[in-house]
């Protein structure tokens, strides 16, 4: 990537898509008996990713388990779904800004 900020943004977006995948899997398995909600600890996994590691998914503690052993909370997943999408949107705007700045430098500041 172009620079440290762009690099961090790239990892951030990678991690957001990994998390979105877990949220999507949780929603798809909302009626699967025995399924346990999976998520990743965003802070620590982001540090891990910046250090060159790979994201690790963990089970979420403290959710109410239903009679069939499933503990997916659709409200929680819906919140995370929109939160991830919004964060991703912000990150992609910032990334676009990075490219614009680079383009401006290439054009010697002549074009916007």
């Amino acid at each position: 990537m172009v620079d440290p900020i762009g690099n961090a943004l790239e990892k951030y977006m990678d991690l957001l898509s990994a998390r979105q995948k877990l949220v999507t899997a949780n929603i798809a398995n909302a009626d699967t008996p025995g399924y346990k909600t999976k998520d990743l600890d965003f802070q620590s996994q982001f540090q891990n990713l910046l250090a060159g590691g790979q994201p690790q998914a963990t089970q979420v503690a403290g959710l109410q388990t239903k009679n069939d052993g499933n503990n997916v909370s659709l409200d929680r997943e819906a919140r995370l779904l929109s939160e991830n999408a919004l964060r991703f949107s912000v990150a992609s705007s910032l990334m676009k800004g990075q490219f614009k700045a680079l383009q401006s430098a290439i054009d010697e500041g002549r074009s916007a």
């Binding site: 979105q20 999507t24 798809a28 008996p33 994201p55 998914a57 997943e77 819906a78 992609s92 676009k96």
Partner: protein
């Protein structure tokens, strides 16, 4: 990369809920059916969901790192209600036994309707997650413009 396989996770959820809705509608339609190909009254069917590795043609490094975690869902089994059918006294009915009782399926329409609503809402939840992921993909593509 990873986002495209996320779409197949949503799709697996939609397919599973659709299968469930089909069976529930079949139950409702056959709530009064006294004759089937196997003989005897219709028997109530239901699905069993099971997690499944999301099938994507392009498995990425990130996927394998989230070892086995990203899971779609599929219908692993269709269960058939084997409980004794409901006996109704209808001596004039062509399927009545010697005592005048007819075996009817053990189906409670209210229960089927509630399950059908549940399947429909779950389907909608999967559509919502697919649309959120689609927006993320579009945002990424927009970086190229």
């Amino acid at each position: 990369m990873s986002l495209f396989s996320t779409l197949s996770v949503s799709a697996s959820g939609m397919a599973a809920q659709r299968t469930r809705a089909e069976l529930l509608v079949e139950n409702l339609a056959n709530a009064e059916t006294t004759r089937t190909a196997d003989g005897g009254p219709y028997r109530r069917k239901d699905v069993v969901f099971e997690t499944q590795a999301a099938s994507s043609p392009f498995a990425s490094m990130l996927d394998s790192a989230l070892n086995g975690a990203p899971a779609g869902v599929h219908v692993s089994e269709v269960t058939v209600d084997e409980s004794d059918p409901e006996q109704r006294y209808m001596p004039g009915h062509p399927d009545a036994n010697a005592n005048g009782y007819v075996a009817f399926p053990h189906i409670n329409p209210a229960e089927e309707m509630v399950n059908l609503m549940d399947a429909s809402r779950s389907y909608q939840a999967n559509v919502a997650s697919m649309s959120a992921v689609k927006d993320m993909i579009l945002k990424s593509i927009d970086l190229l413009r």
